[in-house]
């Protein structure tokens, strides 16, 4: 089936091209282990070349470009200038949330037709919820490359010390997923564990700006985006609870260090893996990191952590996790859009994608991957996939990053001791100032 499709495409393209065609791909980690984002494209090119050879077609594809490991913002800056100056690149890899801005600016090629063309071949198999993450105003602008879940890691050893039985512990993820065990329940356990000196801290979250925090919003039922009007929402009443939570974990309950934001990553992971912390709002990719850089074995980790969605609050909201698929995009100015898409399609083969997942600790994007033996061997991948049904995404809005920046400023204020009332006022006025009519402020 595949070969037939290709042959058709080739015959058509033969008239236009001959010899070697270079496809340039700009890919990004920024984590080192994600290099398959680039290498899979190369592998796809090899496969394609093999087919060309077998079919006696005199075309070869060469993949050039880079795999960037600096950081998101620097990568995105460069991409932006690359778009504007129409640098030669045909495939672009980035977080799904960028496509809103870039599609709006007209930098990206729309992919609906191409997806349709290869639907039966490959794309029928993509985990359906992922399609939501690659659309802007209802149109597809990207192909998912991987996804991830942000599990709530809880230290089982500490739970045991607190007197939990093995059965109780085993049942906990389920209870969280059903909403029977709430965030407030967690807080009281954390306070107890800290008080008894079993751990230094109850809860760690990421020490930088990021999207993890939106899980807590969902836990409190604070919606932050209105799809219909494509505007951000800042519900003062709901957000009060969110900021109140951040305020209390560091200032009242003292289950999170006031210095959480700004602690070096290395120290965070050292504390989490050495059992100094009861729970960690992390990601599935941490597992691989802990094994590689923090001297933990698979057994030790499995013994230490249970994996659950982030609990809901007692006062509304739902248990959830946040996925942030990385996607392949095709610039509107690319000369070889179809060829590039073909490469992406080939790189989406289950076995290639699985290599990436195993190497970098991400989760599969296709059902077919879940039957592969590598998948079944991988504890965190299976556990992570279990919580995928609870996943949400951040909106593909052009101004999301600005919105996120301001929201995060509020979190820092709250944790550093500004009362939630004040924080709400500061954040809402700043949102108005910066986002103007792109934001709806819902007064109490």
């Amino acid at each position: 089936m595949r070969k037939v499709l290709l042959a058709i495409l080739l015959v058509a393209s033969l008239l236009i091209f001959a010899g070697e065609i270079t496809i340039t791909a700009w890919t990004v980690g920024p984590d080192n282990p994600s290099f398959y984002r680039f290498d899979n494209l190369k592998a796809a090119a090899e496969r394609l070349n093999k087919m060309f050879e077998d079919a006696g077609v005199d075309i070869r594809i060469k993949v050039e470009g880079f795999f960037d490991t600096t950081d998101w913002s620097e990568f995105k800056q460069r991409v932006l200038f690359g778009f504007q100056s129409k640098q030669k690149f045909d495939i672009l890899c980035s977080g799904h949330d960028d496509l809103g801005a870039w599609a709006r600016a007209g930098y990206l090629a729309q992919l609906d037709d191409l997806v349709k063309r290869y639907w039966d071949e490959t794309y029928y198999d993509i985990i359906p919820s992922l399609w939501d993450s690659v659309k802007y105003k209802g149109k597809i602008y990207a192909i998912p490359q991987d996804t991830e879940a942000r599990p709530f890691y809880i230290n089982k050893i500490v739970l045991k010390k607190l007197g939990w039985s093995d059965e109780e512990i085993e049942a906990l993820p389920e209870k969280i997923a059903k909403g029977e065990f709430t965030l407030e329940d967690f807080v009281s356990i954390a306070e107890e564990a800290v008080k008894k000196g079993y751990v230094s801290w109850g809860l760690y979250h990421r020490p930088k700006k990021g999207i993890d925090y939106f899980q807590i919003f969902t836990s409190f039922g604070a919606d932050f985006y209105d799809e219909d009007s494509a505007k951000f929402v800042f519900n003062k009443e709901k957000m009060y609870k969110v900021y109140d939570f951040f305020y209390k974990i560091t200032n009242v309950w003292k289950i999170t260090p006031k210095s959480m934001i700004g602690t070096p990553w290395g120290s965070v992971h050292k504390d989490v893996t050495s059992g100094k912390v009861l729970a960690w709002m992390g990601g599935t990719w941490n597992w691989a990191e802990w094994k590689r850089d923090y001297g933990k074995t698979e057994e030790e980790l499995e013994k230490m952590f249970l994996v659950a969605p982030f609990p809901k609050s007692r006062y509304g909201g739902r248990p959830n996790t946040l996925s942030h698929p990385v996607v392949y995009m095709i610039p509107a100015h690319s000369k070889y859009k179809e060829l590039a898409f073909l490469l992406i399609t080939l790189a989406t083969a289950p076995e290639l994608n699985m290599k990436h997942d195993v190497q970098s600790g991400h989760l599969p994007i296709r059902w077919q991957e879940t039957v592969l033996p590598e998948y079944k061997k991988d504890f965190i991948m299976m556990e992570g996939t279990k919580i995928l049904p609870y996943s949400g995404f951040i909106p593909n809005d052009a101004d999301f990053d600005l919105f996120n920046t301001i929201i995060f400023e509020g979190i820092q204020w709250a944790e550093s001791g500004k009362t939630p009332d004040k924080v709400i006022e500061l954040v809402s006025s700043r949102l108005k100032n910066q986002l103007k009519d792109k934001v709806i402020i819902v007064e109490k």
Binding site: N32, F66, T69, D71, R78, Q87
Partner: protein, 281 residues
């Protein structure tokens, strides 16, 4: 006349004290570089104690690392940028500094003031505008663009430095050359330029340094990995700190900093001649 021990040795005691104070205020530098070097040879550190020694962190020298270009090619690029920035800057400032120091021409004073004003511009805030200039000149994704840009941004300040050195050369030298029948250009070339060698050396070192460590423009305006320089390489090993391999990072960092430090040792004797803008007591 009987002198106490302190009176007799006040000098020695004072010097000893000064050395002690210097050690104290320099200690963060000494300790942190000591740590950096140690870190590059160890698996992990507990404070100052390496848990286990290794050369694995230096593997980038003999083997390729996934996602990174070849270190030697990258080093070559870095050296190319640094040397070219140095040459351009020395060329421009040794002439420009001479003109400002020795010629009387309309607009001289305003030009010198303008140079100071340029310094008030944060070069990074010019990035978008610079982007348009580079795009217009077709110098995006091109090391020459970076070189010209970097040299131009540094030139105003370096011209001031060079002017200072020129101001220190006695006018008699100039007069003698002119009396001997040379033109102004020849006098500059044959008489004055050799005399401001220290100035050229100082300018050259700072230019080389700025070229060698340039990061932001390369990161923004260079798209192809084949044009990477070491700053980019180091930044890539850091990532956004989340995935940093500190051992590798320290090793690359030491590797990156070493040439500039060696270069500095060669020219440090000229550094004490650094004076700015014709200093008068």
């Amino acid at each position: 006349m009987r002198l106490s021990f302190y009176q007799r040795n006040a000098d020695k005691i004072r010097i000893f004290l000064f050395i002690l104070i210097m050690f104290a205020i320099t200690s963060p530098i000494i300790l942190s570089y000591f740590w950096l070097i140690l870190r590059s040879f160890s698996v992990d550190m507990k404070g100052f104690i390496p848990t286990q020694l290794t050369v694995k962190n230096w593997r980038f020298l003999w083997s390729e690392i996934k996602g990174y270009p070849n270190i030697w090619k990258t080093t070559l690029n870095t050296a190319f940028v640094a040397i070219m920035v140095m040459l351009f800057e020395v060329f421009m400032t040794s002439m420009g500094g001479y003109a400002l120091s020795r010629f009387d021409f309309p607009g001289r004073t305003s030009m010198m003031k303008f140079i100071l004003v340029l310094h008030a511009f944060p070069s990074v805030s010019l990035m978008v505008a610079i982007y348009y200039v580079l795009k217009y000149l077709n110098l995006l994704d091109n090391l020459w663009g970076i070189i010209l840009l970097k040299a131009s941004l540094e030139t105003p300040w370096a011209t001031w430095v060079m002017k200072g050195f020129y101001d220190g050369i006695p006018w008699e030298m100039e007069w003698a050359g002119l009396v001997d029948g040379y033109s102004r250009f020849q006098v500059w070339r044959k008489v004055i330029l050799p005399l401001v060698k220290p100035g050229v050396a100082v300018t050259a070192v700072f230019a080389f340094l700025s070229g060698w460590s340039e990061f932001i423009f390369i990161n923004t305006f260079i798209f192809s990995q084949e044009f990477w320089t070491l700053s980019k390489y180091v930044k890539a090993t850091i990532g956004d700190f989340r995935f940093a391999d500190y051992g590798l990072l320290s090793a690359v960092g030491v590797f990156y900093a070493l040439p500039t430090i060696i270069l500095f040792f060669f020219v440090s004797k000229y550094m004490i001649k650094l004076t700015i803008g014709g200093v008068k007591g």
